[in-house]
Structure formats: structure tokens, C-alpha cells
Symmetry: C2
Subunit: 268 residues, 2 copies
Amino acid sequence: MKILSVKNDQIKHLVHLKDKRDRDRHKEYIIEGYRELLHAKNAGASVKKIFFCPDLFLGQNEFELLDQFGCEKIECAPDPFMKMSYRDRPDGLIAIANQEYKDTIELKKILSKKAPFIVVVESIEKPGNLGSILRSCEATGVDALIVCDPKTDMHNPNVIRSSVGAFFLVPMFQLESTVAVDLLKSCHLDLLATTPHTDKFYDDVDLKKGVAIVLGTEQLGLSNLWMEKATLKVKMPMLGKMDSLNVSNAASVMMYEVVRQRRHANCI
Amino acid sequence: MKILSVKNDQIKHLVHLKDKRDRDRHKEYIIEGYRELLHAKNAGASVKKIFFCPDLFLGQNEFELLDQFGCEKIECAPDPFMKMSYRDRPDGLIAIANQEYKDTIELKKILSKKAPFIVVVESIEKPGNLGSILRSCEATGVDALIVCDPKTDMHNPNVIRSSVGAFFLVPMFQLESTVAVDLLKSCHLDLLATTPHTDKFYDDVDLKKGVAIVLGTEQLGLSNLWMEKATLKVKMPMLGKMDSLNVSNAASVMMYEVVRQRRHANCI
């Protein structure tokens, strides 16, 4: 049965999932877009239901992708589809998936490998920042992203959108800061914090060993907890009059410094 | 005269400036926020009129800052102020300024200095990306940002907001790509383009000489024009399955590589 009306209950249900409370209540989230669904498929995400609107398809392979999913697939007219979409240019595919949280056993396994490369974000607020940090994690081969005490929901549609699929590719764990600190410490990782109150530059410390880059909030930086537990405190050169960078930009520079050092030492 | 009504014509005029066409017609733009106005003042921006709402002030120094401006200052009640604001947490200061474009004579002067460090963004679409690139330019001491054939307006309120004041600190020029290429070439700068189709990594080339980092659009990367004129073609390690980064993140990594090389060679 093709959905024609914007008032259809299934359409309304998906629209409600744009709201965090509804996502939490149903333990579901939204995945929109061909590329995102492709990555979700490859990553084995638990997709529950896909709405599709052939009139809006941008490519040739949409039906082929749909065939790969065993879940319920529902055709929609453009109007109800547009009501669900959160994009300027929807591509005719939007899905509901079950929220899944990886457990710490899996994280411990990752931490036991040689020279793990971890990124921790504390109390991050903006979904777009979390999404683009995920993209940089994916590009730099980060082993796990640990999201501590988040102020944004990691299943926010804007996280998934701005991650351009990296959401499904980077192992992501949500933990309390105290738990994460203990876990990382017990595995002898260096905890790298950025602060202006140090003489060491980020590119003058050895990042070839196991390391967790720890990033604070957009507004306030890192909490005392992380700052006190940090084993490496570094600063980034600030050559202008201000003393701040966008958190995802700072994160990316640090991540690529890890890659640079490891690549030049033939570790990767 | 304190403005009490949201229907006041001056309030309406500022609200209209959120629209690009109105900004272009009046050659004006909006500056919101204490920090932004402080940087605007220090940079000598042409501020025309400031609306203020003491009930919304977050700090102690707002009146002191207002005193530094010789322009018209108009008190507003919270309702009309909220109508103008584009922030979640307005801080009671919002202004109208005259659009100013720096001319190429000033750019030529910058390009004639020793080892200029330039960033070029081609056809950038998202105001938030341009804003955070400005922040990184400010932090890394970029001498000028050249915005070519923009698809976003550099006076968009979200550019100014996401630049957190860097908008007023980084010399910014708007040029056609063909003009910018000729100008940079005539000053013998290296044009550095990022592309997967090369063997050279970005951190294996010499960035201590005069260089322009050229960045393409979010969707399509660099145009043929820039790609053909590039004197250095480099790639960034991509260790995952995807092959893309957020443009402001890629930009920041490249900018900090310039800083890293110059700092280690004692050039800065």
C-alpha cells in the first residue's frame, strides 16, 4: 500500500522521532539518504522500516539497495515523504532503525590492541560538531570514539547527516566520564588534553603510543575531572588575537597529528 | 525612545536583513553579540546602529562597550529584541553595519610580503563552514582569506556567528576565481590543491614558502580551473572506507601543517 496522505500514522510516527524524547521512548532513530543507508547496511545496523519515494530518487541504484534489506519497505508519494525528510534535497529514502549501544566489553577488546587510537568527546553540544568529528575519526582510523556525558543525543538526525555515513563506520561508545577515565587509565593510554596553560605544543609530544585525545565542550573546554587525569597536556599554536577553534577543527588537527607521527614512523 | 513593539519599523528593517536580497539592497548586515561587537569595534567595522536590551545582558561591560561606539544606540524591550535575534541565548546586543569589501590593492600589498600564507575557498556553500574556516585562519595567522565565486554570502549572520569574531580579524577578499588565480600566480605563490589523484601527502611538501591553500566546495571539491593551475597537488591520508572530510576540518589540518613546518623551521 502506497502512502498518499501526510496524515498517515506511520508518517507521523517517523516525524515524532525528530524529537529526542520520542526517540528515547521508542529506542528508535531516523536514517535518511542513500549513502547513509548503504553504510548502515554494510555496518549491519538494525533497520526496521524503510520509506521510499521513487519520484525523488537521484540515482539508478535505489531499488537495488532496497532489495538488500529484509525489513518492511513502504512506498510514499512525494508529499508525505517531504514531511518526513529533514533535508533540503531529499533523495527518496528514509528509514527507522533501532537504537543500539555497544557495550564496554567491546571497548575493552579495542583497548587491548597495540597502540590504540581513541577520541573522547566530553559533553558535546552541537550535533553537527559530533557528526564532523565522526567523519574525521573515520578518515584517520580512530579505533573508537567515546562520547561522555553528552548534551546532544548521538542518534540526533543531524549527527547522522553531518557524519555522511561515518556514524555507522566508527565504533562509538557512550559512557560516563568517570567510567571512561578509569577504563582508559587501566589500559595505560595517554590521556591528551588541550589547554592554553602549558608550554608543550601538541606536535612536540609522542603520539605513537596508545593515546586518547580528549575534547571538551564548545563553550567551556574540558572539565576538571579530565584535566586532572590527563597525562599529556598540550596547546595548539594560536597566532591571532583570539584563543579558540571550532571543536571539530581542533579535533581533526590533533587526529591528523597522530596519523602524521605514526605514518612517518611507519607504524601505519 | 525605547522600542516596545515588535511592529516597530526599525525592528522590521533589521529582521529583513536576515535575507540576502535585503542585505544586498541596503548594503548592510547584522552583527549580534557582545564578543562580536567588541571585535567589530577593534577592527574598525562601520557599525551604523546598535539595538540593546539591558534585561538580556549577560555580563557587566555592555554599557562600557556601547559607550565606545559613536553611532545611534536604541534601547529595546525584550520582545522586539528577541524578534531580531538569531541566537538561542541572546545577550542583548545586536547591530546594523555597512557592508565593506576590501579592494585588491590591499591584497596585492599582503601578497608582496615574505612567504605569504593565504587560504582560498571556492564556491563554499555553508555559512557555518566559512565561519569556522575564518576561526582557523585567525588562529594560524593566515594573511588573507580569498572567497571565490561564493554560494553563500560572506555577510550571512551565520558566517559571523560561527566565526566568533574572526570575521573582523582576518583580512577577507571576494574575487572571481580567474582573477584570484592570476593574482596569486603573478606573486609566485604555490597553489596547493587537495586531491586523491596524487602520490604526495600534504605533510611531505614544503609549505614554508609563500603558499595558498585552495579548498573546493563541500559537494564537488575543486573546479578544473584551480586543479589545472595548482602547483602542488597533495592528498590527505584516508585510512577508513570513506574518502572525505568536512571542508573546514580539512582546511584546519592543512593550515596547522603550514604552522607546524614554519614553527619547526623557526620561521614564525
